[in-house]
């Protein structure tokens, strides 16, 4: 039996990106909620993510480093194509990343500045990731394995819609995290934030999903819609039907968020938010798979040499379970409600 290395690696990268979106998603969301909290609440919010944010962000390095290592042609075309949003994302992540320590060390003005930097950096990084995602879905101009488009190709109403949707989604994750991990006044506020963010996410995810159908004829075709060849719109139910579990998963997630909030099951909205994200993620993947640079390069064309993929697969098979193991252990260690004196040093 020979392993289909490119396919396995496409799966590994997809899991890394999903892990990143889910995990850094909630701590970016917590950052974007900063402006709506009192100074004391902000300290608790930060304490709730401080022990884990660095590990969360490492999934982004695995996504980027993994893309470089497993699909170099995709990395070499996507990065120049999305130059400005990628760099914007990095700037945002720098500002919010250093804020974790700098906020503790700053005096009055410094603390205010790094509080703003944490919120602003989280927002910049989220918007930039939305623009990257939107720019990616709408496709990248490639000829002879090289990016040939313009520097602002990614900037369209569609990518802006995706960016706004991602803000709502990350805020939902962040607010649901706070419902789970905090108590008292802050938790009550988080309930309200979660409800609002869930409504906004539902609306924007729906709007972005519809818009995605019109971004590229291929995507609509995948979902069974056809508005290119036929005169008028046609629908092939047999194509749509097997994909229906994906939007249903999202609806189920929203329902969990709603019932969790109503019945005070603190962890449930967070699980629901995860499901909403998983649904959106799978929904998008259906549209562009098997392309890794939509819509010019498939993951097979972009894959690295088999001996490189094989070597790395040994590493992943041995190490990823260990990584997941100690990641779970760290989360378990810092489980429970965050108290106001949870700081360190």
């Amino acid at each position: 039996m020979t392993l289909d290395l490119p396919l396995i690696w496409a799966g590994v990268i997809a899991v890394a990106v999903l892990m990143y979106v889910l995990l850094d998603g909630f701590d970016l969301g917590v950052g974007m909620l900063f402006p709506f909290a009192t100074p004391k609440e902000r300290d608790v919010m930060m304490d709730s993510v401080a022990p884990v944010w660095d590990g969360n962000e490492t999934w982004l390095v695995l996504g980027g480093g993994g893309l470089f290592a497993a699909f170099p042609l995709a990395y070499a075309t996507l990065m120049p194509a999305l130059y400005i949003p990628i760099l914007l994302m990095l700037m945002g992540l720098i500002l919010r990343g250093v804020a974790f320590e700098f906020r503790l060390r700053g005096r009055r003005r410094g603390k205010a500045f790094w509080t703003a930097a944490f919120a602003g950096g989280s927002l910049i990084a989220t918007v930039a990731q939305g623009l990257v995602l939107g720019g990616f879905i709408q496709g990248v101009a490639v000829r002879d394995g090289e990016f040939v488009g313009g520097p602002l190709d990614w900037l369209t109403p569609y990518s802006l819609l995706v960016a706004i949707g991602l803000i709502a989604g990350y805020v939902l994750l962040g607010a649901a995290w706070l419902v789970w991990r905090t108590e008292g006044e802050l938790q009550t506020k988080s309930h309200r934030w979660t409800a609002l963010a869930a409504a906004a996410t539902a609306f924007l995810l729906g709007a972005a999903s519809l818009a995605t159908l019109f971004v590229h004829g291929r995507i609509a075709e995948r979902w069974g819609f056809n508005y290119i060849n036929a005169d008028g719109l046609s629908l092939q139910v047999e194509r749509l039907a097997p994909l229906l579990p994906i939007p249903l998963l999202g609806l189920l997630g929203l329902a969990l968020v709603a019932t969790g909030l109503r019945r005070r099951r603190d962890a449930r909205p967070f699980v629901g938010a995860f499901m909403v994200f998983l649904s959106g993620y799978l929904g998008l993947a259906v549209g562009f798979f098997p392309h890794i640079v939509p819509y010019d390069l498939t993951f097979r064309q972009a894959a690295n040499a088999d001996n490189a993929l094989g070597l790395m697969l040994v590493g992943v098979a041995l190490l990823l379970p260990v990584i997941l193991g100690y990641t779970v252990w760290v989360y378990w260690l810092f489980r429970g409600k965050v108290s106001a004196d949870a700081g360190y040093h």
């Binding site: 022990p51 480093g65 470089f68 170099p72 400005i84 974790f100 060390r105 990016f147 490189a308 949870a342």
Partner: protein
Amino acid sequence: MDFDALILSRLQFAFTIAFHIIFPSFTIGLASFLAVLEGLWLFTRKDAFKTLYLFWVKIFAISFGMGVVSGVVLSYQLGTNWSAFSAVAAPVIGPLFAFEVLTAFFLEASFLGVMLFGWRKVGPGLHFASTTLVAIGTLISAFWIISANSWMQHPTGFTTLPDGSLRAVSWMQVIFSPTFPERFAHMVLAAYLTTALVVGAASAWRLLRRDEPVSRIALRMAIGMFAVVAPLQLIVGDLSGKEVLRVQPAKLAAIEAFWETRAEQPFHILAWPDRALEGNRFELSVPKVGSLITAGSIGAEVKGLNDFAPRDRPPVFIVFWAFRVMVGLGVLMILLGGWGAWLMWRTRGPEHSRPFLWAAVAMGPAGFVAVIAGWIVAEVGRQPFTIYGVLRTADAVSPVGAGQVSASLLAFLVVYGVVFSVGGLYILRLIAEGPSPDEPEGADPPLPDRPPGYALGAAPRAKDEALP
């Protein structure tokens, strides 16, 4: 391809990577130092070690955070600015980067959380294990990145396909390329020295103002590192230089500003090398010693830059001077170590010599300067190639416009300018406040029970007697 985008991308890469290397070169050493401190504390139960740990871990947290965020930039910048390099090199060094993430980054990031926030969540043994794992993670990370860099300096174990892309044929030769051992040792020792110099300077600064037992201990530990590691670094550096002579003769010629190929090369203490002139405008030299230092004997013939086509010559002026800055500082470190060791051995102690304390303070930043100078020698000396002899830097750049790159370079200058100054300020402020034995933030892991039958089982837990 856009010539200005090339220059700007090179500037941006140089700026972001020089900024980044400051933090790993400090945190690699500091993580090991913290592991030693915590181990000593668990072993001896002297509170001084815990006080030092809790003090330096704060500085570690700030530096590590800056290292993480500036490092994420690099993992994406290879694609945004050097996409042609990525496409060519990934089949060979892609796995090295992937292994760095899998073996080091997750380990460091996850156990850093336990190290910083786990004092009251885990027992002392598990906490010590977390510190140790972070320290090991920093070394593993250095292993992979130096492995990738060594391969770019002297690529082995690969073949070039007809379409110009590369394929690994021996992973052992890729990962352990011939110059890797010396480079890895050189970098790790540099990191340990850099940390020791900062610890020494911080302790000396405290001791200049008041006599403080914990700072005395830290100063002695730092002196021990200077005295042992600085001379060792000279030897390892020399071995590394011998490898450069063997595999990158053009770089060596640039380091020494040799233009003519000859035996009995002079050693230029100072020079003003000029590429247009193909010679030195000015030089202060010791005759014949150049061949002795670089090749081991006065009679050895050493290649000069004029033996290489002008388009294959690295910049000389920068490489020559960066090397002299690095070696000059290295010599000062050895002298500082010798002086400190002599004071410890022959006098009442180094804390009583104000000139020595001032010298230690002055040498605080020397490690950072030497590390950056050393990397300038390595990287600028490799030019005009990105992968030596395989891929020219001009062919490695992304198809991006000068406008975008100037915008991002400007943004990096501003953001890093703010982050670096503020981070530096906070670290200096912590150092000025100094270690405080009363731990205002009161993180105190539970002491393990003394074994039954322990002679002093009923005695009160002693605070370190040396402390006030």
